[in-house]
Amino acid sequence: MTEIPEHLLKRAQAARDKAATETGSPDSAGAPPADSRIPEALLNRSKAAKEGGGVAVAERVATGVVAVAPNGNAPIGTGPGGHTQRLLTVVKSGSIQDVKAVPVDKVHTWPHLLGPEFVSALACTAFLFVFSWFVNAPLLQAANFNQTPNPSKAPWYFLGLQELLTMFHPMIAGVTLPGVALVALILTPYMDRNPSNKPEDRKFLTSIFTVHLMFWAVLVIIGSFFRGPGFNFVFPWVEGIFFEL
């Protein structure tokens, strides 16, 4: 049991005594207290209403009931049936605001999203840490402008492009094709007018995308592992791998 401090008990007692003396005062008999914040005009009007002069029919009928209001049985303005409210009109929500939201099954971000995010970030760090522990980043001889390594290869993500260079004019392989690919990617959402995101409705587009993806992956793999000195085609199990990350 918590102990209430002495001074709080005293203060509470004092407040109770004060309240007791106030309820005993003549003010509470029925007339509004002198310091009422209701404007004089409104008080007069309500008094007039109680006496039956110049009010709506419904309220006049209710005069009998209203008369008992000060006793606390029913509030002022009670209708003929004893109702305290009147229904003016019903406005359906759809006519004044566009209700689009359907109830969505939601969960708290904490812990249901932040938890998995934190764990996956931790797992990613752990993987990178362990991988970096065992595999060192390459550092070859210092840059030498007079000694071109054979083969010289671009970073792996550009090896698809470098592979294309063996097939087409540099203008096409290095500029046109990647440019077209980039623009096509950017325009994808504006060209694809199919509103469905269900895989069964998007067979055509997903197959197109997969074909391009595979085509690109094959180019990168050939460029990475199947190209040897002079960027000639080699089998990695015969000539070895000419590839650095």
Binding site: D105, K106, V107, H108, T109, W110, P111, H112, L113, L114, P116, S120, A121, C124, T125, L128, F129, F131, S132, W133, V135, N136, A137, P138, L139, L140, A143, F145, Q147, T148, P149, S152, K153, A154, P155, W156, Y157, F158, Q162, P170, M171, A173, G174, V175, L182, L185, I186, T188, P189, Y190, D192, N194, S196, N197, K198, P199, R202, F209, L213, L245
Partner: protein, 261 residues
């Protein structure tokens, strides 16, 4: 003696953990963390209200709403790829700042600095490895994220423009990786970049001009190293952060992640 030992009630593991838990929560350290006004402004007990406050009362509110669709937290849907790309970006920033302490982007010093970073700086090799492998991983995860979004049809209305921002971010990721590739200033870096930038020269009209500006000359040289260093540590990360902010903001404004299928 043996009898009294047997009569003693057996303490189960659950009771033991409860006891540890209680003593932990009664400890000074716990109370100094979870006391109202401390690290958690209002203390923390697990209630729906407090779960909301974790987001609402923290900087995380800039990234996540208080509640998300139930299907959106399924790891099997997103594979965390977008989040991991962002996390790798942060990791690369941290490791990159470490590397900057030991690296001078001049033709005479660059390679030597990397060499001594690996041999005579504590954790130097480790951090460089993490930076390099993390960069490759980020290219991969960004690319896989894009493929995931494509296969889910997540670029469709109202997310069209966020896809465009995503393509820009993928390009920026490639540029970040490519500019970083030159910095070790070894044979691999020099000639890989030489091959890459030669392609650039074939662009019509502005190709050779762009190449000249990027290389700081007609051929790769000391000027190129400084330029790519500034691009790598300052300009591209700056642009990337701006696009990331727009990307994340749009994810929320477009109604959270897409789906379910």
């Amino acid at each position: 003696m043996a009898l009294t030992l047997d009569e003693r009630p057996k303490v189960t593991l659950k009771e033991r953990t409860t006891k540890v838990n209680e003593s932990l929560k009664a400890s000074q350290a716990w109370n100094s963390i979870f006391r109202p006004g401390s690290i958690f402004r209002k203390g923390y007990t697990d209630s729906p209200r407090n779960r909301s406050y974790v987001i609402m009362n923290s900087v995380l509110y800039h990234l996540h709403p208080v509640k998300v669709k139930r299907h959106a937290v399924k790891v099997s849907y997103t594979l965390c790829l977008g989040g991991l790309s962002f996390f790798l970006f942060i990791l690369l920033t941290v490791t990159g700042i470490f590397l900057m302490f030991f690296y001078r982007p001049t033709a005479t010093n660059a390679w030597q600095d990397i060499q001594s970073l690996q041999t005579s700086v504590t954790f130097g090799l480790m951090v460089r490895n993490m930076h390099r492998w993390g960069a490759h991983l980020m290219v991969l995860s960004t690319f896989l994220h894009m493929s995931r979004v494509f296969y889910h049809g997540a670029y469709k209305a109202p997310r069209e423009f966020n896809w465009v921002i995503g393509v820009i971010l993928l390009t920026l990721t490639l540029l970040l990786s490519f500019t970083g590739y030159l910095l070790p200033w070894d044979q691999l870096a020099l000639w890989a970049v030489a091959v890459g930038t030669n392609m650039m020269g074939y662009s019509p009209v502005i190709g050779s001009q762009v190449r000249f500006v990027l290389l700081g000359g007609v051929e790769i040289g000391a000027e190129t190293l400084l330029r790519w260093y500034v691009l790598h540590v300052l300009l591209f990360p700056f642009i990337t952060v701006i696009f990331l902010a727009v990307h994340f903001w749009r994810v929320r404004k477009d109604g959270g992640i897409s789906g379910p299928l």
